[in-house]
């Protein structure tokens, strides 16, 4: 086994760890927006590192891998932004831990750090 293949394998492993943490976040987070947060960040870097590792193992695929990485990097935030926006517009509730929601047309609640949120009616 060549040196660069070992590096590629390690990079792929790190990528899959990030992907695993992202999916763990999907289960653990309390509402849809926080789930999208973890989902986007972890899948972007996880996919990038996984692809990069494969590119290091198969050096002749490097060009295609670079195109794929750029594509993932550009499109992943857009899709998550659209999901979050649509979720907010159809009124999916935020978690009770939420401290402020400037997007709602109601007057903003001012909450200091550590204060408990009053329930809105």
């Amino acid at each position: 086994m060549e040196y660069i293949e070992i590096i590629g394998a390690v990079v792929t492993l790190i990528g899959t760890i990030f992907l695993f943490l992202g999916s763990l976040g999907l289960i653990r987070m309390p509402d849809v927006f926080n789930r999208i947060q973890t989902g986007t960040k972890a899948t972007t870097l996880g996919t990038m590192l996984t692809l990069l590792g494969i590119g290091l193992i198969h050096l002749d695929w490097a060009g295609k891998i670079i195109v794929l990485i750029i594509f993932v990097l550009v499109t992943n935030p857009v899709s998550s932004h659209v999901l979050a926006r649509a979720a907010h517009y159809i009124g999916i509730p935020l978690t009770s831990k939420t401290v402020v929601d400037k997007m709602a047309q109601k007057p903003a609640i001012t909450v200091k750090k550590g204060d408990k949120l009053k329930e809105e009616d």
């Binding site: 943490l21 992202g22 976040g25 309390p30 972007t44 935030p77 932004h81 979050a84 709602a104 750090k113």
Partner: protein
């Protein structure tokens, strides 16, 4: 600035084609040149997506600086998410705040919103004129100016040079 659009889209198409093929045959280069020239003339003779992009040496240097800053933030954001997910108490303090951008062009705002999404604990949700609504996983300050300073400023100084 019609030619700038055509030239930039030609370079983009041609580089993508070469990366996908990954070899330097005369046939492949020839086909790539002809097809990407044709496509960029046919499609991009009226588009204006690249017209505000700064291609002077300063713009290019700032593009690379921006790229490194962005990569650092991406890795930081992943470590941050990993820490929050693993911690048993789930330390989140989420909220939606409003930030303001000084970027004028559409592509600049697009890149800024994408960068915000990929940086620690923030997710851009909606954009109205120069206001971006950001879902922030750990709200430290809901005030507009302070949130802008915290979230936007680190990218804006580079993007202002590149995209205006």
């Amino acid at each position: 600035m019609k030619f700038k659009n055509i030239i930039l889209s030609f370079i983009l198409l041609f580089v993508t084609w070469m990366l996908l093929n990954n070899k330097f045959d005369i046939q492949i280069v020839g086909v790539g040149l002809v097809v990407s020239l044709f496509v960029s003339f046919a499609v991009c003779s009226k588009c204006e997506i690249f017209s505000k992009v700064n291609v002077s040496p300063k713009g290019i240097i700032y593009f690379f600086l921006y790229f490194f800053v962005f990569m650092g933030e991406l890795i930081k954001s992943n470590l941050d998410v990993a820490r929050r997910v693993i911690a048993p108490s789930l330390p989140i303090n989420p909220g939606i705040v409003e930030v303001e951008t000084q970027l004028k062009t559409k592509i600049g705002r697009l890149v800024l919103a994408n960068s915000i999404t990929l940086t620690p604990g923030t997710l851009s949700m909606d954009i109205k004129d120069d206001k971006i609504f950001v879902h922030w996983i750990n709200v430290t300050d809901a005030d507009k100016e302070n949130a802008t300073k915290e979230i936007v400023a680190k990218f804006e100084k580079y993007l202002k040079v590149i995209y205006g």
